[in-house]
């Protein structure tokens, strides 16, 4: 609290200097980019609301960042101006979903734990992606935060710890919107904190909480995955041709386990841009010795001919039986259904949610549109024809990250409580997780 009061005057001076610099830069930019905002009468209202909201969040962040030196502010300003341009080119249909600004460690508030800072950066750069991986990483980081936490005078751990964790969670959400599984896990954590006995000492309580987090990871993710693999092995026979899309950690474990058991099967991996996650799965399976075919999504009709089963992973499962997963999953499920090929989803129960969703618009995530511009398949980026898209007033890029697969395309869901039809998801929620609701 004290550091802020002391440097209020310095803060004001710095902010004034910042404003002068921003004004000068804007004048320079306005000459160059006069065409971009002017020719948008239709999306003008949408653009102004999104720009308004980003500037609102940024002004709440800047007063706390007295640590920012001049170089850091110009960096953040550049990224800020770029995001403003990208935001002004929002696709109307998705203007309710903001494109995340990404993690900016320079502008982070002081109380953010360094583990969370690292995590936010990893999330926004997609170094950790995949629902299970993100959840485990987030819970491990929270363990560190809890271990370093000290209850202040005059309050108890069970009351203050949640308020201490809230800004950390907000920072993570700003870096990249939280996954449904992570949301459930954090809700479970908060519930566990609230049941801590007031009499317990700090150290004991912290140790108990860390143990509870470990138990959650073990029960809901690690062991659940193993049970799912056991069930899934019943569904893979000799001579099967299995199709999978992008990279699901559970499906990967299932295929590796099936191979170790000696079942003879072939795998077709369908991949899509811009994330190209299927390559990692391909590496893993080929190194294990499985016979693999790799193709892009446009070839799914061609590849679907010989397929006997389709295994897909999930990001979340809605209460109306719809699957929320990586964008393109719905396409694969639909093509399989056209050819009457069974579609099997492997999903842990911690990903089930009460929400209902009918299409891919209501809740989704937009990634950075610049990812579409790069057309190479290797790590070295190769800009394609669209590298000047920001300068073309009528051209927009849309980079969706998730989509919704309607329940009619799904044959069965394998969870750790058994193999259920996708319409039984609300039943599972009711039976097994009444306490967390």
């Amino acid at each position: 609290m004290d550091p802020v009061k002391k440097t209020a005057k310095e803060l004001k001076a710095e902010r004034r200097a910042l404003q002068e610099r921003q004004r000068a830069e804007k004048a320079a930019r306005a000459a160059g980019n006069a065409a971009v905002p002017a020719k948008k009468p239709a999306s003008g209202s949408g653009a102004s609301t999104t720009v308004g909201s980003t500037s609102a969040t940024s002004t709440t962040a800047t007063p706390l960042s007295e640590t920012a030196g001049s170089t850091k502010t110009t960096d953040s300003k550049q990224r800020h101006s770029l995001t403003k341009e990208i935001n002004s080119k929002q696709v109307d249909m998705f203007s309710h979903l903001e494109i995340t600004k990404g993690a900016n460690t320079g502008l982070a508030p002081k109380e953010i734990h360094p583990a969370i800072l690292v995590l936010g950066l990893q999330f926004s750069e997609f170094k950790i992606c995949g629902a299970n991986a993100r959840c485990i990483a987030a819970l491990t980081a929270f363990q560190k935060v809890i271990q370093d936490y000290k209850t202040p005078e005059g309050t108890t751990l069970s009351r203050h710890l949640p308020t201490h964790l809230s800004p950390q969670i907000t920072y993570l959400v700003n870096a990249r919107p939280m996954s449904v599984g992570m949301g459930n896990a954090i809700r479970h954590l908060k519930w566990e904190i609230s049941t801590i006995d007031i009499e317990m000492s700090d150290d004991e309580a912290k140790k108990l909480l860390c143990e509870k987090i470990d138990n959650f990871i073990r029960d809901s993710i690690t062991v659940a995955d193993r049970v799912i693999v056991e069930y899934g092995l019943q569904k893979i026979q000799d001579g099967d041709v299995i199709l999978t899309y992008a990279r699901s950690s559970v499906v990967q474990q299932l295929l590796l386990e099936a191979h170790t058991k000696g079942i003879k099967f072939k795998v077709i991996i369908i991949d899509s841009r811009p994330r190209l996650e299927g390559k990692k799965l391909l590496n893993c399976l080929v190194n294990a010795g499985i016979n693999c075919t790799y193709a892009f999504l446009h070839a799914v009709g061609f590849a679907m001919r010989d397929v006997s089963k389709v295994f897909l992973g999930a990001h979340a499962f809605m209460s109306n039986g719809a699957l929320y997963s990586r964008v393109g999953t719905a396409m694969v499920a639909m093509m399989a259904k056209e050819k009457n090929i069974p579609v099997i989803i492997c999903c842990e129960t911690y990903k089930f949610t009460d929400k209902v969703q009918l299409d891919s618009f209501v809740m989704n995530e937009q990634g950075n549109p610049n990812d579409i511009v790069n057309i190479s398949t290797t790590l070295a980026p190769k800009p394609g024809l669209l590298s000047e898209w920001l300068n073309k007033p009528d051209l927009k890029l849309l980079n969706l990250l998730y989509d919704l697969t309607p329940s009619k395309y799904i044959t069965t869901v394998i969870t750790e409580v058994g193999m259920i039809p996708c319409t039984s998801v609300p039943v599972i929620l009711r039976e097994y997780k009444p306490m967390v609701q």
Binding site: A42, V91, M93, S272, R273, P274, K279, L282, N283, V286, C292, T293, Y294, A295, F296, L297, H298, A299, V300, G301, F302, A303, R326, V327, G328, A330, M331, M334, M335, E338, D359, S360, F361, N364, I372, I375, S376, T377, T378, G384, L385, L386, W389, K392, P393, D394, L395, K396, L397, L398, N399, L400, D403, L404
Partner: protein
């Protein structure tokens, strides 16, 4: 005109360019083939129609088709030309018969006169039908030639045979060449006729989805954009990235364009009003051979009950049937999918990169062609009128 050696050189040149895929796009291929065949008809020496048909079909036509079997437009044009030749011959034959039988001195070169003659004519084995494309005002059914083969139904058959060799060449050649010229004009005006229909199909504030890059669709949308305001979603069709070129071109014309990745097609389909796409070829059952990814788009559109409109010129309509879906497909280099510098995985992995997709006729709602809009169920009529069944084995 040009001697036979020059003609051979021209044929060789087109064959080589087809083989090396230096002629790109069905439209260019069609026009070049049509012009070459016009040269063939005018430069070759022929006394009987059968000779001409043999030259066009076997000597020239087969070589062209073999040079690039995937380019179905070549075969289509050859079939069209053969059909034209036979029609001109048959209609000339009829007027000649009538002329000799009734001893009239009418000028048999005018279309109207021919029509009148044939309606009054006594040679009843000729069945008159209307043909819907420009060119001769009357057409003859192929059944007439079959009846002739089985033996003449009329007593004039023998007489006709004796005067055939004598009278044919001076009349037929200019007629055939003028018909061919009309066909070439029709080909050149294909785009004009298609884009004239743009205003009927696109309305304000529509969201249209398209896939790949088609010159026809591009012109179609640009024409509509002059008067209507709508937006377009372009699927980028990796790994060919044709969608990127299309989006650039459309946005330069002032159309509100958004590029989406192929994986998002199902996700956004619920907001799309209609799907408009081009195609590489149309098969006899109404199915399409289109750019890879079209099958996905059409299936997704069917699941959301959105109409799928295909803009194509009639020269892409092929009389072949897709008995096997794969017979028209090409697997091209997998480098864009998984490049060499990815390492040693390449030996252990099978890579698939099909260039074309087969879209079944149930997924297509409407064909917009230079002769108007047709449902897929009507295509068999167009094939009957434009092609002969004996020619499909080129």
């Amino acid at each position: 005109m040009t001697g036979p050696r020059d003609l051979n050189a021209q044929i060789e040149s087109l064959v080589n360019r087809l083989r090396r895929r230096q002629v790109v796009g069905s439209w260019c291929v069609s026009i070049e083939t049509a012009m070459l065949l016009r040269q063939v008809v005018s430069a070759t020496r022929w006394n009987q129609v059968e000779t001409l048909i043999k030259v066009v079909k076997e000597d020239v036509g087969r070589r062209l088709v073999m040079a690039q079997p995937r380019e179905l437009a070549v075969g289509n044009i050859v079939c069209r030309v053969l059909r034209l030749i036979r029609e001109v011959y048959n209609s000339e034959d009829a007027t000649f018969d009538d002329n000799s039988a009734e001893d009239n001195d009418k000028d048999s070169n005018t279309d109207d006169d021919e029509k009148d003659e044939e309606i009054k004519s006594k040679s009843s084995q000729k069945i008159r039908t209307f043909s819907f494309y420009g060119g001769s005002g009357t057409g003859t059914n192929t059944q007439s030639s079959m009846i002739n083969l089985l033996g003449d139904g009329s007593p004039m058959g023998a007489k006709r045979a004796s005067v055939d060799d004598y009278r044919k060449p001076p009349n037929l050649k200019p007629l055939i060449i003028s018909e061919l010229q009309e066909m070439i004009n029709e080909l050149e005006n294909t785009y004009v006729n298609i884009i004239d229909q743009a205003m009927e199909h696109i309305h304000s504030n529509e969201i249209i989805m398209t896939v790949g890059k088609s010159r026809t669709v591009e012109m179609f949308l640009k024409t509509a954009a002059k008067k209507r305001k709508f937006s377009v979603l372009v699927a980028e069709t990796f790994p060919t990235y044709l969608g990127h070129e299309m989006a650039l071109s459309l946005s330069e014309a002032g159309i509100d364009t958004t590029v989406i990745s192929d994986s998002a097609i199902f996700a956004v389909m619920s907001r799309v009003n209609k799907v408009i796409m081009g195609t590489h070829a149309v098969l006899a059952n109404g199915g399409l051979i289109s750019v890879s990814g079209a099958q996905m788009v059409a299936t997704a559109a069917k699941h959301h009950s959105k109409p799928v409109v295909v803009c194509t010129g009639l020269y892409k309509l092929s009389p072949l049937y897709p008995y096997d879906e794969d017979s028209f497909n090409d697997l091209v280099a997998p480098d864009p999918v998984f490049s060499f510098n990815e390492g040693d995985l390449i030996d252990k992995v099978t890579l698939l990169n099909p260039y074309y997709d087969y879209v079944s006729p149930e997924l297509v709602s409407l064909f917009i062609t230079n002769t108007g809009g047709h449902p897929p169920s009507y295509l068999y009529r167009l094939i009957n009128e434009n092609y002969d069944p004996d020619d499909t084995d080129i």
